[in-house]
Amino acid sequence: MNIVVCVSQVPDTTTKIAIGADGKTIEKSGVKFILNPYDEYAIEEGLQLKEKFGGTVTALTVGNDSSKDILRTALAMGADKAVLISDSVNSDTFAIASSIADYAKTVAPDIIILGRQSIDYDSFAMASMVGELMNLPSISMVSSWTINGTSITAERDIEGGKEVIETSLPCVISAQKGLNNPRYPKLPDIMKAKSKPIDAVAGASVPARVMTVSMELPQTQRRGIILNDSEHDITELVRLLHEDAKVI
């Protein structure tokens, strides 16, 4: 089975965000970058498929030199091959999806696996966009699935329940938390991954279809009324919720 796993590099969630000099992106200096947490499920799923069906796992990312760190994590976890596709300045989700699709078409994967979202821009768009660009079926937020020959039965989380979906290989899926338990890379594998080759591929040169006009830090407009735990104050809270906020 020819398995492609797409990963992305994102700022650590707990990192402090400051707006950069351009007023449209974050100030990157001092920010700790990590492998997008959902992509760990994607890598693990790819590795488990390989263990079950044989084949190869190729980890790819669209980024720059600093993105090699996350590819090395994928290699240390057990990916066979790593590909770094160069990103263009001011690219958007569509431009990145185009780069992934252009590369993936050259290797004709049976399955492309992504994390359900990148925790930087939370767009939830990549699985559907890559599927569309490659004319492949896609299922996002898969929480469990089975492959039988070329048939796929998957469960995906929706509001108030789950959808059971059927489709067939080749296809694109995005991994929901709980799909598996990602393995931790072992120290010798981390060391070995440092010297493994990373293929460099030029990204698609398509213009972005959206642009950021401005970025700002959110203004909180919360009431900030803090009370204590006396019965009087709890009664007052209920009154405020009922009469002022009118939520009960």
Partner: protein, 318 residues
Amino acid sequence: MKIIVLLEPSGNSIKRSSLESITAARALGATSIHGFMYGGEASAAHIAGEYGLADIAHTPAAEYSSTAAATSLAQFAKNEAATAVIVAANATGKEIAPRVAVKLEAGYIPDCVGLALVNGSIQGTRPVYAGKARIAVSATTAMSVYALRPNVFTARKADSATSVNVRTFTPQLSESDTRVKVTNVIRNEGKLDVLEADIIVSGGRGLKGPENFHLVENLADKLSAAVGASRAVVDAGWRPHGEQVGQTGKTVSPNMYVACGISGAVQHLAGMSSSKVIVAINKDKEAPIFKVADYGIVGDVFDVLPVLSQKIAAVTGK
């Protein structure tokens, strides 16, 4: 400006998030707004008239297919020479909108919490980096597709209801359009999902153990609310993942969010900071949750929740 709004059928009506999309389109001052509904009964669309939508195209479908829905919506938008397509950023919308955008060669702006007309084009505002920043985004293309975060835009009825014309739209579908099929939907019976609730009461590590969640459930019951949970208690196995609110769980915007014994780590705030009213109960007055709270009670959940439930029951009559 011509806007197509995706209407999602729900029984004999359409989802509230679709009504929010109609209201958002009207607020932009669009001269022409058309609804598009895939699957469901044509009659379900009639409620849209109360929200000022007169023209609705309906594509009947015996079974739901995200790929076929995307192709149908894109073809309809193209036929109508629309300038924008608006969907809800829910499980359905987030799945099909990126495909629709690619088909229409349109810019896609997901998870909008604001829409504004700027120099004749629709600008979307959206949270990024776990809500620690907010960006304004515009499309560089002639057409654009927007997904609106549910329960952030308010659905408002029009001054007078419009009579609705539902016409059938028959898309040209190829075999590849129907490769993804929903064969079953498993409902969480008897349990309100945090994504569908007007009020959510969430519990965190302050509850000390799964056996104490009845305190949270009891308050939720008095408020007809859904029960939510922090990542810590889900990871500890106290509560199911479906209840998790936050970055690795669900992003919610209820009318009221009550955080009980939740410190308010940034991952949690990412999932609930767009709630309309936030109430926090925590014994640590320095807990970050108080910084985003409208109302807070500094106190132990074990002392506060029983009293609060009783006082709220007196108001709600439950």
